[in-house]
């Protein structure tokens, strides 16, 4: 029981990170119908940006850690958002009216470009960061087994919760969110109402990248090691989460992220940690076969 509870906490933490990345996949799919395979690498780039900015702030003499971390988060969000914007502008917008596979191919190209760019600029070796946020709370103790939740885990879960609430509000209640959803459903009609569709699509990439950068920042602090390849695995898992939740559905992406995080954690805990990726990807295969529209996805048929 204690072991289960501990794994549950770990799983929710991991799921939070996947969920934040998955939103980027699902939003982009919703609005332009393509899988942005470079999104995982945007996440990877953001974790590097976080590390670099953090070290830069320290060397500038900023030693008050909470302030430093807050600044790192904000700066990283801005720079990563600029990456997201640039990727869309360079690789996808020129192909907007091209055949369907074209942006998918450039997305994979963009993913390779970002990976190699970071590999060359930062080296292929892993970059460690000593734990910055320490301390934890003991929730229960039984037969010598301790259930703990660390401060880092609390921060990850709370930040994710706040961001997702804010983000849901943005999408469902604001004019910006309405025009975003309008572009998802009918771009021509949105333009007929005066919505600047290109700008809305850019904004979707910017928001997706900003959320991924929060994930990248927390990944760096939580695991303490990053390399140029983390974006691939995390990206594919977040993509799995988006498909599991129903691609195009925002609550689906959040729920899917959580479930994938839990599946992976419990699989590692009770079966085999070596095969944890197999568990996540087997889920993808099973969902695609038996439930192609996902848990909260909308069926393709619509009343005319």
């Amino acid at each position: 029981m204690e072991y289960f509870l501990q794994q549950l906490i770990n799983g929710v933490t991991l799921g939070s990170i996947y969920g934040l990345i998955a939103i980027g996949y699902t939003m982009v799919y919703g609005i332009i119908g393509m899988i942005n395979f470079a999104h995982g690498d945007i996440f990877m780039v953001s974790s590097f940006i976080s590390l670099i900015v953090f070290l830069a702030l320290l060397s500038l003499g900023l030693t008050f850690i909470p302030l430093a971390l807050f600044l790192v988060l904000v700066i990283s969000m801005v720079i990563t958002a600029a990456y997201g914007w640039t990727v869309e502008r360079l690789a996808y917008r020129p192909l907007r009216d091209s055949f369907r596979l074209a942006p998918l191919i450039t997305a994979i190209g963009m993913s390779i470009v970002l990976q190699n760019y970071v590999q060359i600029a930062q080296g292929a070796r892993v970059k460690p960061l000593p734990p910055i946020i320490k301390g934890s709370y003991t929730l229960m103790e039984h037969d010598g087994f301790i259930v703990q939740i660390s401060n880092m885990q609390i921060i990850i879960i709370l930040t994710t919760l706040i961001l997702m609430l804010g983000f849901s509000w943005l999408i469902s209640r604001t004019s910006l969110g309405r025009s975003q959803r309008a572009c998802e459903q009918d771009r021509t009609m949105a333009a007929l109402l005066g919505v600047n569709v290109d700008r809305t699509i850019s904004l979707t990439f910017v928001i997706g990248a900003a959320l991924a950068s929060v994930a990248g920042f927390m990944y760096l602090l939580y695991y303490g090691v990053i390399d140029f390849y983390i974006g691939f695995v995390a990206g594919i898992k977040a993509f799995t989460a988006a498909v599991l939740g129903g691609i195009g559905s925002l609550p689906g992406a959040m729920l899917g992220g959580l479930i994938i995080g839990l599946i992976e954690t419990f699989w590692s805990a009770y079966f085999s940690i070596e095969y944890k990726d197999v568990a996540a990807f087997a889920t993808l295969a099973i969902v695609l076969i038996f439930m192609p529209s996902g848990l909260l996805g909308k069926p393709e048929v619509e009343k005319v």
Partner: protein
């Protein structure tokens, strides 16, 4: 407000289309179309299915772009502008097929209609539009996709009106609707034109209703304007009667 005579020719029309050619891929849909709509007028364009009427509507709004010729609106050349900037100048369209946002509520559809206007007079505009189409008030929380065809058509027009347009473009508002509802929609248009001096450009297959409503009318055949004149005059013309009215009423 004093009523200007809609037939009185003002120096510059609100919308002026000159020599416009437009293509869908390689197919030429419009052939040197000339057409004008003056302030306060209701102008209709009638023609058979596939004549190019909807293409003209969309060409005015910028997509497909016109390849030759000029389109002027409110004293500006608009044919080189992107769609969202054209609409910003005060044009609203209720397009072919209605294009309601089916997964959004009726209220959200109307909010999107007001995307370009000052949010301060949103409540006032909403009140006005719901008074015209009371059925939308009852349905305001419902998803657009669950409305009946007639309700969707009313929503499409209401959404267009929410933008406070100088020019309202309506593409086949009568398509697929019961005669009673068609009558209702047309009388609302007439009322809006009379009381608020709303300028309307209407594309219709339902020629009888459209010609009765409109001050002036154009007939389009295979992407060309073949006839024009007062609505009441065209109603009398033998070729119009034969092609568009026989069996209609």
């Amino acid at each position: 407000m004093s009523q200007p005579n809609p037939l009185l020719e003002t120096p510059e029309p609100l919308l002026e289309i000159k020599g416009v050619n437009s293509f869908y891929g390689k197919i030429q849909a419009l052939r040197t179309v000339d057409l004008s709509v003056h302030r306060g007028e209701i102008v209709t364009l009638i023609g058979a299915n596939g004549a190019g009427k909807s293409t003209l509507m969309m060409t005015i709004c910028g997509k497909p772009p016109c390849r030759d010729g000029t389109i002027r609106f409110d004293g500006r050349d608009i044919h080189a502008l992107p769609m969202h900037e054209i609409m910003r100048l005060g044009i609203a369209q209720s397009p072919e097929g209605r294009r309601i946002f089916g997964r959004m509520s009726v209220l959200e559809n109307l909010q999107l209609g007001a995307f370009l206007t000052d949010p301060h007079h949103f409540e006032e505009d909403l009140e006005r539009v719901l008074q015209l189409f009371p059925v939308l008030k009852e349905r305001s929380g419902q998803r657009g996709g669950t409305l009946s065809g007639g309700e969707q058509q009313m929503l499409a027009i209401a959404r267009a009106l929410m933008g406070r347009p100088k020019l309202l473009l309506l593409d086949e508002p009568s398509l697929g609707l019961a005669p009673l509802i068609v009558k209702q929609i047309f009388s609302i248009l007439k009322e809006l034109n009379r009381t608020q001096n709303l300028t309307v450009f209407l594309v219709e297959q339902n020629a009888w209703h459209a010609l009765h409503l409109a001050h002036r009318a154009y007939v389009m055949v295979n992407g060309r304007i073949t006839l024009s004149g007062k609505g009441s005059e065209l109603l009398e013309k033998e070729e119009v009667r034969a092609a568009y009215l026989e069996g209609g009423q």
